[in-house]
């Protein structure tokens, strides 16, 4: 009877060890949802093109802002030049009319003499 107990001791120990090691350990909280979210994100990354990524969109927005800003500046400069040329033409016209008026004054004064 003693021999049988001695033989059963290592088996029991082994069994308990195996049970402990092979036993089901509950997963940490939220593991399932994290794994599913990561899987979904991977799927989305595969489907979405480069331009949909946030850094790329920011770069495109920045380029657009710079291009629009340059267009506004160029347009304003063009308008300024157009107005400046118009003002110059007005000055030249005024001086031509003044010169003609002076000529008329001279002619009249000469006639009187």
């Amino acid at each position: 009877m003693v021999l049988r107990q001695k033989d059963e001791q290592p088996d029991r120990e082994l069994e308990e060890e195996l049970r402990a090691k092979l036993g089901r350990i509950p997963a940490p909280l939220g593991l399932k949802s994290r794994i599913l979210a990561e899987a979904r994100a991977r799927e989305l990354r595969k489907k979405k093109p480069l331009w949909f990524s946030i850094p790329f969109a920011r770069a495109v927005a920045l380029v657009l802002i710079v291009v629009l800003g340059a267009a506004v500046v160029l347009e304003r400069e063009h308008q300024r030049r157009v107005e400046g040329e118009r003002a110059k033409e007005q000055v030249m016209l005024a001086l031509r009319i003044t010169g003609t008026a002076l000529q008329t004054v001279h002619n009249r004064v000469s006639e009187e003499r």
Binding site: A87, M92, L95, R96, I97, G99, A101, Q103, V105, V109
Partner: protein
Amino acid sequence: MRTKLWMGLFVCLGLLALPAAGQSGKQLLPPALEKELASKASESSEVTLDKKMLAFASKFMNSKDPDEAQALQLIQKLDYVYVRSYEFKKSNMYKAEDVDRIRKQFENAEWFPMIRERSSQDGESTDLYVHMVNGEMHGMVILNAEAEELTLVYILGTIHPEDLEHLGGNFGIPKHAAKAASKKMTQGAK
């Protein structure tokens, strides 16, 4: 308290605007008359330039072009330019009373009537007034009233008779005409 602050602000803004209003010259022809003359004229030219616009225009002048170089030299000393010129297809398209009203604006101590020519035959007239300050010309008015043309030139700013000589040979004006006018002005100033 807030109302007093706003009133004070408006008064200050009004006072700030006064000097600017003085420097801009005046409107010699009432807008209604301008509109009437322009509608009757076969050709009309209306130019009004204050100091700011003259300075702006000067930035676009080409110093290599003889006319523009001369113009640049002239306008740098000017404060205000007001020119109205109307050409009509027939006579009596404007009233003599309107011309008299323009002349009356310069019949005061500030303006010296240098030339006053009247033609009894056709009713045409030419007037030239100058505004003198310390022996220097600071304004000029030319009023030519012809049968089929009415021209009014009103310029404020430092005008040297030699500047007028420079007009001769440029802008299509014979040299002798500008020189004679300049000589007349120099004599009148003395």
